[in-house]
Symmetry: C2
Subunit: 145 residues, 2 copies
Amino acid sequence: MAKRVKITPSIAEQAQIRLMRVGDRLWRASDERFSRWDMTDNHYNVLRILNGSGEPISQSEIGRRMLSSRANVPKLVDHLEERGLVKRLACGDRRVNLVALTDGGADFLEQTLPDVISFANETMKFLNRDEQKQLFKLLGRLLDS
Amino acid sequence: MAKRVKITPSIAEQAQIRLMRVGDRLWRASDERFSRWDMTDNHYNVLRILNGSGEPISQSEIGRRMLSSRANVPKLVDHLEERGLVKRLACGDRRVNLVALTDGGADFLEQTLPDVISFANETMKFLNRDEQKQLFKLLGRLLDS
DNA sequence: GGAATATTGTCAACTGGGAAACAAATATTT
DNA sequence: AAATATTTGTTTCCCAGTTGACAATATTCC
């Protein structure tokens, strides 16, 4: 008989594993969704960051606000710029490229927003409003580490 | 003035985004942790699946129980087999390779388990036991979709 | 002013996982 | 028994993202 280890997962582990599982599933669903628009969730995230900021920001600043490494930003911006959703601006500091959302980019956000919203509603529909709040709050505590 | 879209995220969206954020962070931390042992979380997961099953299972079955595509399993098993943590067995059905945990693999699990447990405790330490249960329960509801 | 240090954008090399295609073996249908 | 379909393992190619390095520019400190 083969050797085997007895493992009795704690609540902490079970919660952690489930959290990672659900997160993974959401990331995949999200990937699949954004691929319809020929982009990654990271691309879309850049657009949202720019829209949220309201003013042009540097690529490194984008990197800081994203779930992605700094070196990945130029590729993302390249792709978005090719599609006219974004443009690079010169700047007093000759090192930095400020990145700005174009009108086309804002239109794109506007058009795709309903889909993004309905996606979130779909994935969260098994929790009522209070439970969603509760989840949000619990997860917030995990972010402060 | 540049065009801009007004976005007021619903609770559902905020919860979803936070869930993905926390999940992502955990995946990265987990990656970093397993790299100490020169493997991926996927590799470790294979070991746990085999240990949990108690008997050899086919590669395709492993794929089904994992967060990874079927085509990725041979690579994972190759690596684990090279290190003697796992072995392939012939089988009545000449298509299938049954994969079994070796004694070395079980030893490895036993030795690394404390680290894995303490990692979970670390990441979840900002929630008390009841809150961990609550989180677990809420996430469970999201899995039934 | 000049030297050390930091920041920014960029690139090349690497990595892990995914998709599609394939042959071999088995199961199913006719 | 023959033909078709399905399952399994595997390989090849692809792709997004990471790491580490680099040059150019700014900043800080002496």
